[in-house]
Symmetry: C2
Subunit: 209 residues, 2 copies
C-alpha cells in the first residue's frame, strides 16, 4: 500500500485505506451533527477535525474539500427509508410514511434547513442533498401511489396523485416556521387523514384492505 496518496484526488469517495468503516461513519455523523447545529456556512474542516479528533490533513487528504466531505457524509449515512413500507393499501402506506417521516423529522428537518440555502447555490451539494435525503423518499411515495393505482384504489389520472410527495415533504418543512414545532408523527398522521387522503378522494383511513 503506497504511503503517498496523491492518486485519484478527483475520486474522493474511494481510497479510505486509513479509515475504518466504523470511523468513517463516526466522522460522517459528526459532520451532519455540526451541520444541524450551525449550518453549512459555519462548517469548517477545522471544526470537523476538532469534533472528531481527526487530523485536518487526513480530512483534506481523504475528502479534498468541505463540499466533498458534506456530500460524502450525506451519501454515506443511511437515514430513515420509506421504501420498505407496503401495507396493502395506499391509505395504510401513507399513514406508515407519515409515522416514519414524523419519527425522523427532529433529525432530518434541521439538516434540510441547514443545507437547503447553500444547496440552491451549489449544484453539487443540491444534487447530493436530493439524492441522499429527497429522491429516495419521493420514489418510495410515488411507488405507494402507483400500487394504489394498480389495485384500483385511485384512478391512474387522479390529479392529486402527483402532489403527495411534495405535500408530505412540504408540510414537514413548513410546520417549524408556522407553528414553531417539528412536523411530528401525530401532525403528519392527521395531515394524511385530513388533507392528503381527501384530496385523493380516499376518505377512509384504511379502505377495502
Amino acid at each position: 500500500m503506497p504511503s503517498h496518496d496523491s492518486v485519484q484526488e478527483s475520486a474522493p469517495v474511494s481510497r479510505r485505506s486509513k479509515i475504518t468503516p466504523e470511523r468513517e461513519q463516526e466522522l460522517y455523523a459528526a459532520v451532519l451533527d455540526l451541520l444541524r447545529e450551525s449550518g453549512y456556512e459555519s462548517l469548517t474542516m477545522e471544526g470537523v477535525a476538532s469534533r472528531t479528533r481527526c487530523g485536518k490533513s487526513t480530512l483534506y487528504r481523504q475528502w479534498g474539500s468541505k463540499p466533498e466531505l458534506v456530500v460524502a457524509a450525506l451519501h454515506g449515512t443511511r437515514r430513515m427509508s420509506l421504501s420498505h413500507i407496503d401495507t396493502g393499501t395506499l391509505a395504510g402506506d401513507l399513514h406508515r410514511a407519515a409515522r416514519s417521516i414524523g419519527e425522523g423529522s427532529g433529525r432530518d428537518t434541521p439538516l434540510m434547513h441547514a443545507l437547503s440555502h447553500a444547496a440552491l447555490q451549489n449544484p453539487e451539494l443540491l444534487c447530493a442533498l436530493r439524492e441522499a435525503l429527497i429522491l429516495p423518499e419521493i420514489a418510495a411515495i410515488d411507488a405507494m401511489v402507483r400500487r394504489g393505482v394498480e389495485r384500483g384504489e385511485i384512478a391512474a389520472d387522479n390529479p392529486a396523485a402527483a402532489y403527495v410527495a411534495a405535500q408530505l415533504l412540504g408540510v414537514m418543512r413548513a410546520r417549524p416556521l408556522l407553528e414553531g414545532r417539528y412536523a411530528d408523527e401525530a401532525y403528519l398522521t392527521r395531515f394524511v387523514a385530513n388533507a392528503i387522503l381527501p384530496g385523493l378522494g380516499l376518505r377512509a383511513p384504511l379502505p377495502e384492505s
Copy 2:
C-alpha cells in the same frame, strides 16, 4: 439634536434621525439581497457597509447588531401580501393566492431558505421571520377559509381546512428541492386546483360564485 447617541440603545427600531426613510429602505433591501445571495451566517456588518456604502459605525449605532439589523430589514420592507384578495369564492381566493405567492417565490423562497436554519436556533430571528414573512400570509389564507365557511362553501369543521396555509407555504419550499425549480404561478395554480380544492371537497375551480 444631540451628537451622542447612547440613548435608547435597547430600542434599535427608533431614532433614525440621520437616515432618511428612502435610505433606510435601500439599506434594508441590500440586507435582504445579501441574505438571499449568501445566507445568514455569511452576512456581516462589514458586508452590508460595503454594499451600501454606509459607514459601519452608522450601522452599529442605528441597529446595534447583525440580528437586530436583519430583524429590522424583515419588518421594514413590505413584500407581497395576500390580505387584499377577496374574489367572492374560496376557490377564487386560493387561485389568486397561488398566483401571488408564485410571483413572489423567486424573491421570497431564497430569503426563507437563507433564514430558516438560523431562525430555528435564534428565537428572536424566528419571531421576526414569522411576523414578517409567514404570519401575514397564514392570517390571509385563514381569512379566505373563514369567508368560505361563512358563505357555506365548506363546512366549519372541514378537516382539511386547517392545512391549507401549511400546504401552500410547504410546497413553495419543497419544490425547489424536489424538482430544482421555484414553485411558480403555474405550479401553485395546478396544486390548488388538483390537490387543495379536492382535499376541501371543492372540485370546481370557481364554484357557485
